[in-house]
């Protein structure tokens, strides 16, 4: 409220659209056929994302397969997910985290020069020295090109935490690379 020549003038802010008046996204309900097509179409992408995280084709295929099985079991959730790609990515990241944490074979002792191995040996050796969380962060930021906000949503941490963790992950990679 503001006094102006004896008259009271009310400064009114422009009315913003309230939550109630914003367009509400339509509730998605996918059929089983649509989910089948979705999972089949997502398979190559899931495999490549798994490969970017675990850096080994066989393990990546296992991780992608397990993520697909998990998604298939949770069809009801997938049927109503507003962003199925994000939903699948979250499932895959969790599977990859588990695979990296409980992996029996030490990546540094296995035969990295086998013909079916993938990518630069040096990069894979360097990645193997990083914590699973760092590998996932690097893959989400560099491979998936996700923003800090999106990564923060996945990891359920503030954006600032993502920035600092990503900085640490990059520093850890560079440090391991120099050795």
């Amino acid at each position: 409220m503001k006094e102006s020549g004896g008259a009271k003038v009310f400064l009114v802010r422009p009315v913003e659209l309230s939550v109630a008046t914003r367009p509400i996204p339509m509730t998605v309900k996918r059929t089983n056929v649509e989910i089948d097509a979705l999972l089949e179409g997502a398979r190559p992408w899931l495999y490549r994302l798994a490969l970017a995280i675990v850096a080994e084709p066989n393990l990546a295929e296992d991780v992608a397969q397990e993520a697909l099985i998990r998604a298939n079991r949770s069809r009801r959730q997938l049927a109503s997910a507003t962003d199925p790609k994000a939903w699948l990515r979250r499932v895959l990241v969790r599977r990859a985290m588990t695979a990296l944490k409980y992996r029996k074979v030490d990546p540094l002792t296995e035969d990295l020069t086998a013909p079916d191995q993938f990518g630069s040996l040096e990069v894979r050796e360097t990645l193997a020295q990083l914590a699973p969380e760092d590998r996932i962060l690097l893959a989400l930021a560099h491979f998936e090109q996700l923003s800090y906000a999106e990564i923060a949503e996945y990891l359920e941490v503030p954006e600032g935490t993502v920035a600092s963790r990503l900085h640490s992950a990059r520093a850890a990679f560079k440090e391991a690379w120099r050795r």
């Binding site: 490549r48 066989n58 491979f143 560079k174």
Partner: protein
């Protein structure tokens, strides 16, 4: 000389983008979810179930077991001064 670390990492991720969707697998080296793995899991589950729920004893064996238990209970009750087996009964409250 080694390339820059982040350049090498980005190159690696580029290779991941271009990776064929189905990698070549060595014969006999399958996923963790192959038929033998499923068979082994089912076998272990069946063995666990069998060990958890053993078959009912034969009627004669069951009768003998029940009789042995009853006899033992009777012998316990016959002990003087509340002695149970070779051990004395532990007092419920210690006095100082």
């Amino acid at each position: 000389m080694k390339p820059e670390a982040m350049t090498a990492l980005d190159q690696f991720f580029d290779e991941c983008h271009a990776a064929p969707p189905t990698p070549r697998r060595e014969p006999g080296r399958g996923s963790a979810l192959t038929v033998p793995a499923v068979g082994l899991t089912l076998g272990i589950a069946a063995a666990l179930l069998v060990s958890l729920f053993p078959a009912a004893p034969a009627p004669e064996a069951a009768r003998q077991t029940a009789q042995a238990l009853a006899d033992r209970q009777l012998r316990r009750e016959e002990k003087p001064d509340g002695a149970v087996g070779s051990r004395q009964r532990i007092p419920t409250r210690w006095t100082v």
